[in-house]
């Protein structure tokens, strides 16, 4: 039976689908018995879905700066 430490150490790899069947079954068995690891896995999944949004959109000023630079480069070509 896996320990919580082992489950948490491999959880992100499991979410990536980067795990052999035997190891996946051991993870599943632990998951069934441990409510804390179920919470950890659920929240880790939520976190990884959130990461693409973490930097947020650029400001008007940042966008204007990029576009001005592009137009200057375009004119100089």
């Amino acid at each position: 039976m896996l320990k919580c430490r082992e489950f948490a150490g491999a959880a992100d790899r499991m979410l990536e689908g980067d795990m052999r069947l035997r190891e996946r079954l051991a993870m599943r068995l632990h998951w069934l018995h441990c409510h804390i690891c179920r919470r950890y896995l659920r929240q880790l999944r939520q976190l990884l879905r959130s990461v693409p949004f973490m930097h947020g959109p650029a400001s008007d000023e940042e966008v204007a700066q990029v576009m001005q630079h592009l137009h200057r480069q375009e004119k100089s070509l």
Binding site: G9, S50, V51, M54, V66, M67, L70
Partner: protein
């Protein structure tokens, strides 16, 4: 983990973008610029990141008409930034050197007792949407500090895999990392991020 597709799911918007529409390109910049800056910082450091991303935008501007949609726009843009970064480092006689693994401790290690059971279990989180979890104003500064303080190799993996959605094998090739080292680095980066969000969710502070 995949990157959301955002407005590029909209065929009409994509057609405008590929046709050279300025407003569509501005929308593209607005949506992805900060993430690309973060990726560049992980590769070349704070000082050169802005200029490198400007070069990448110029390349993207010239090439967007031929974007084929095989990957998401974020992934396509990230590849341009990574190529620019590699050229940038090569010109300066530097290499993309992210193989080193000086840190030996798993950031989660302190949360378990000697038997391997949780001694500091994660708190229940309260957030309704993926956007909401990491985008609160209070958390933004803490997140920035965490990323800035993260070893470059961990940060690069986190940005490329989880923010930009690049395939794992491609990242290993780009960074010259073995798959086993890359897995360790990515796990540690995610564990640090998890720790930050968990602490914030529990205490409202970070």
């Amino acid at each position: 983990m995949t990157t959301d597709n955002g407005p590029e799911e909209n065929a009409a918007w994509l057609a405008q973008l590929k046709g050279g529409d300025q407003a569509a390109f501005s929308a593209l910049v607005r949506r992805h610029h900060r993430a690309l800056i973060a990726l560049a910082r992980a590769m070349v450091g704070e000082n050169d990141a802005e200029e490198m991303v400007q070069r990448a935008w110029l390349k993207a501007y010239g090439a967007v008409a031929s974007f084929e949609g095989r990957a998401s726009l974020r992934t396509w843009l990230s590849r341009i930034v990574i190529n620019e970064g590699r050229m940038w480092l090569r010109k300066q006689g530097r290499e993309v050197s992210l193989e080193s693994l000086p840190e030996t401790v798993d950031p989660l290690a302190a949360r378990f007792d000697q038997r391997g059971l949780w001694s500091a279990p994660p708190a229940p989180w309260h957030s309704d949407s993926p956007e909401g979890l990491l985008m609160t104003a209070q958390l933004a500064d803490c997140l920035e500090r965490l990323l800035t303080g993260m070893p470059g190799n961990q940060r690069a993996l986190l940005e490329m895999r989880d923010t930009d959605g690049l395939p794992f094998d491609e990242i290993c090739n780009l960074l010259g990392l073995s798959a086993s080292n890359a897995r360790v680095l990515l796990h540690r980066a995610r564990a640090r991020l998890f720790g930050l969000v968990d602490h914030y969710q529990e205490t409202g502070e970070c």
